[in-house]
């Protein structure tokens, strides 16, 4: 039995300990804001926070989550009004939107670590997140907008 906390709620899991967190969130908890994009840690669509760090849930098995705290996009802000989410709306960032929850979760950790990231720091911090629609310049701008609001 693996015990973990997801978005503030205690959960216990007794299935295949090798199953990635992604499928636990999506198939069992119906938290589908965390997306499946590649399954091998290449695209960042599945990004969530584990004890405050950005991880790829597709490549993190349930056994690596015992006693850990997980936050998903559904738990980032109860009202959906995290400064990043507001900046995303203000900058009309998404196209299809599929990658965007992963982008926001990654950016949230970036801004926690670096209050006012430079262009280079944004590029490095976001390098693991693919947007196939090509919204990168807006993501970059929205991160800067959110950084300003959070300062």
């Amino acid at each position: 039995m693996i015990k973990l906390k997801v978005n503030g709620r205690e959960r216990s899991f007794d299935g295949d300990p090798d199953m990635p967190l992604l499928w636990y969130l999506r198939d069992e908890l119906s938290m589908t804001g965390t997306k499946f994009g590649c399954g091998i840690g290449q695209c960042g669509a599945c990004t969530v926070h584990r004890n405050g760090e950005a991880i790829r849930s597709c490549s993190t098995s349930m056994k690596e989550l015992a006693g850990k705290t997980v936050v998903t996009i559904e738990g980032l802000s109860p009202t959906g009004d995290h400064p990043l989410q507001k900046a995303w709306a203000q900058g009309n960032v998404p196209q299809c939107g599929y990658c965007q929850t992963g982008q926001i979760m990654q950016a949230a950790v970036l801004l926690k670590k670096i209050k006012k990231p430079s262009d280079k720091e944004i590029e490095d911090g976001m390098a693991g997140n693919i947007c196939r629609c090509g919204t990168y310049q807006r993501i970059r701008a929205a991160i800067k907008t959110a950084a300003k609001e959070m300062a």
Partner: protein, 760 residues
């Protein structure tokens, strides 16, 4: 397992259940254009009248306006943009507008969200629907007040009697308006441009994206996120070589995986491949993960068939060789051979490999077979193709297939081919439960309908002033027509009319030819289609000619376009010109508009102000596609290690009347990124008939640092009819980028991707 998402998917889509009994429902046909009023009770009558409504616009007594979008949302903003058009003409208050997604239904007319034509095809009918509703509401108010209609005006959800100042809200008028006869088309007064409140007005406006909040909070339901009660999951092992078949199967180990319930064989397609599934073995389980795990344990031996020896390196050599020989003539103007007998001759061969769509959301579908009928929930660009394909695969009637359309995590043409839905339906029929088929990224990359690989040959003659006197363009590619004809060796007018026989340059002697090539993989359309290779080679070659003539490339492209005029390609050596399915009267081919976007691009980019070379350079290209006119200027930096950075790109767009400028800008920003990716790293290759790439580690798409850092998009003000915007950014971007790399390094990259070229 929760079923909380069922509602998310099913709540939309049911036209019949969408409106209350007293709602005022207006439907309009796309072509021919007309509208009629209808209350919900006799709505069935309207449908039975053999009219094909493409749009439903409804007003509830509480003032809520429902607008049905019959096109799929894959990131272009169409789910917002189409309703904006109707709401504007209706004078509806946007905050009271609710958007509903249409199911697949032939009564909507064409629902295929492809070819950058949603606004082109729907702009006028959506306006007329809105205007009809506005007029009927005005008439209802005038009748109630017993005043002349001409003394009343409808503005922002309220009808006002101007002399007395009396007002009635739209909701209060819904029932009365629904009883009125529908105005004739001739009675409708469309708003003047200056009166538009939504059309053309979205810059910095949150209405640009209706689904914003759902997207940023993770609540948006893409196909991957849909769930229905009692659903099981399936993952499919497909033949590694196109056309292969299962020879033997051992599924014992797979069935022992916890959660796996059974395996289901999917028959191979019967040639031609069309939208049929590739075949293979499905592993069915109670979770996605268990299905993946079970699939890994399958032991399948394949009979790989004829394509097992296919090899991309050899095929490439063949294409380029074929392109050197005369092919089928698809345009012949003047006498190219005579022109080539004098002056300076320039020749070059170009190559573009196969490309995969790699939508961020891999293909996925839920299908439920019950009592001889199928209900499906799908991220699809073409719900009617889903109906047809599923019906054919199961031998049932098209009308017995219901297709609900979810949001799409990207489309780019991949999701208009519903092989993945037929898979889900076949498995569901076999297991007797709703089935969700989940494609892995590897499935997506290895079993795509690929953008065609192409070999091109160009030859031109220049006179002593550097003017082009003759132009030959040969193109060889496996055609999309192989989808419906496995023996197909040649392209067709759609592929020819994308940069091959519609070359806009004012050159007196021109010939375009198409050589034969057989398809060994499934070929399909990808964002901007044959333009990708034709415009890449054509506009790279134009740049080569500019250099051969010792001229500035932008000026030279202007000169090649000539003074500018409306082209009549069929009088200029083109047998049949398809013009993106539009009539030339409504959508003429006007090279003045090409000149204009180039001139603006020169101005915006500061073209020619800084000298190219030493690792910095600018490139330019221009093209008309999907009836829109686009110039791209790309600025690159190439470091000592050959690493490319794109600090700045400029796109100038004349897409006629633009409805949602904010979303148009985003489409061109995105096209720049996709174009950059095609040029930098895009390549699918096969060895022994098997695709060698499988995920984003070896089929690389741009990440933030490789993508253009900043793309400035300039939209040309225009009163012309709306043109396409989803695709036209890609064609000029790729050659502009290649030309910039040449300017920066002196290296002409004629074979994509750049990652294979030695730049330093």
């Amino acid at each position: 397992m929760s079923i909380q998402n069922i509602d998310n998917v099913t709540r939309r889509n049911f036209i019949g259940g969408m409106f209350s009994a007293s709602a005022f429902v207006l439907a309009t046909d796309l072509l021919p254009q007309f509208a009629w009023g209808d209350t919900n009770e006799n709505h069935g009558k309207a449908a039975a009248a053999a009219l094909k409504p493409s749009l439903y616009l409804g007003l509830e007594p509480d003032g809520t306006v429902f607008i049905v979008t019959h096109r799929s949302e894959m990131g272009t903003g169409i789910r917002t943009t189409l309703p904006m058009v109707a709401a504007d003409e209706m004078e509806a208050d946007w905050s009271k507008v609710k958007i509903e997604q249409a199911i697949g239904d032939e009564r909507y007319g064409d629902q295929n969200t492809d070819g950058s034509k949603s606004i082109r095809g729907s702009f006028v009918p959506f306006r007329e629907a809105g205007a009809a509703a506005r007029l009927m509401l005005t008439r209802a108010a005038a009748a109630q007040w017993k005043v002349p209609e001409s003394e009343c005006s409808a503005v922002n959800h309220v009808v006002t009697h101007t002399p007395s100042g009396k007002k009635l809200g739209y909701g209060e008028l819904a029932v009365a308006a629904g009883k009125l006869p529908v105005p004739k088309s001739s009675e409708l007064k469309l708003k003047a441009r200056s009166e538009w409140r939504y059309i053309g007005h979205t810059a910095k406006d949150p209405k640009a994206i209706a689904d914003m909040k759902d997207i940023t909070s993770g609540k948006a339901i893409f196909g991957m996120d849909a769930k229905v009660e009692g659903m099981v999951y399936a993952s499919i092992e497909r033949p590694p070589v196109m056309g292969g078949k299962v020879q033997s199967l051992d599924d014992k180990a797979a069935l022992q995986v916890k959660g796996v319930s059974q395996t289901v064989s999917i028959p191979p397609f019967k040639p031609p491949y069309t939208f049929q599934p590739l075949g293979g073995v499905a592993v069915v389980a109670n979770s996605t993960w268990a299905a993946f795990q079970g699939r890994k344990k399958l032991k399948v031996e394949w009979n790989n068939g004829d394509n097992a020896t296919h090899d991309s390196e050899r095929y490439k050599a063949e294409l380029l060789e074929t392109a050197k020989k005369p092919g089928k003539v698809v345009r012949n103007l003047g006498d190219v051979d005579a022109a080539f007998s004098k002056g300076k001759i320039v020749e070059a061969s170009y190559y573009v490999p196969l490309l995969a769509h790699a939508t961020m959301e891999p293909p996925v579908a839920i299908a439920s077979f019950k009592d001889g009928k199928v209900e499906a929930w799908v991220p699809t660009q073409n719900p009617q193709a889903v109906q047809d394909t599923v019906a054919k695969a199961l031998g049932i009637k098209v009308s017995d297939v219901t297709c609900h359309v979810t949001l799409l995590g990207g489309g780019f043409g991949r999701k208009s081919k519903p092989d993945y839905v037929a898979e889900a339906a076949l498995i569901s029929k076999s297991v007797g439960k709703p089935v969700k088929v989940v494609w892995t990224r590897e499935d997506d990359i290895k079993f795509d309908y690929y953008h065609a690989v192409a070999g091109m040959y160009h030859k031109a003659s220049l006179d002593d002033k550097g003017k082009v006197t003759g132009w030959l363009h040969r193109s060889v590619f496996p055609s999309i027509s192989s989808m419906n004809d496995e023996k197909s060796l040649y392209g067709f007018d759609v592929e020819y009319g994308m940069g091959l026989n519609d070359m806009p340059f004012d050159i007196p002697n021109q010939r375009a030819e198409n050589g034969p090539a057989k398809a060994h993989v499934r070929i399909g359309w990808l964002r901007s289609v044959a333009n990708i290779y034709h415009v890449f080679s054509g506009l790279s070659f134009a740049d080569e000619l500019a250099h051969a003539a010792g001229r500035d490339s932008l000026e030279y492209q202007l000169e090649l376009l000539g003074a500018g005029k409306v082209l009549n390609l069929e009088a200029q050596g083109v047998g049949k010109y398809w013009n993106y399915g539009e009539s030339l009267d409504r959508y003429p081919f006007d090279t003045r508009r090409l000149r204009k976007v180039l001139e603006i691009a020169a101005d915006k980019s500061g073209w020619g102000k800084k000298k190219s070379g030493n690792g910095w350079g600018m490139g330019v290209a221009v093209a008309r596609s999907f009836t829109s006119y686009v110039a791209a200027v790309v600025e690159v930096e190439v470091d000592k290690a050959g690493k490319i950075r794109i600090p700045k790109s400029y796109m100038v767009v004349d897409a006629g009347t633009v409805v949602n400028p904010e979303r148009v800008v985003s489409q061109f920003e995105g096209a720049a990124v996709m174009g950059a990716g095609i040029a930098l790293t895009g390549e699918i290759s096969l060895a022994d008939g098997r695709v060698q790439q499988g995920n984003f580690n070896n089929y690389q798409v741009p990440r933030m640092a490789q993508a253009p850092i900043q793309t400035d998009v300039h939209i040309v003000e225009s009163n012309e009819l709306p043109g396409g915007v989803g695709e036209p950014g890609v064609p000029p971007y790729v050659p502009a980028f290649a030309n910039a790399v040449f300017a920066a390094t002196g290296k002409r990259v004629r074979e994509l991707p750049f990652s294979k070229a030695k730049l330093v």
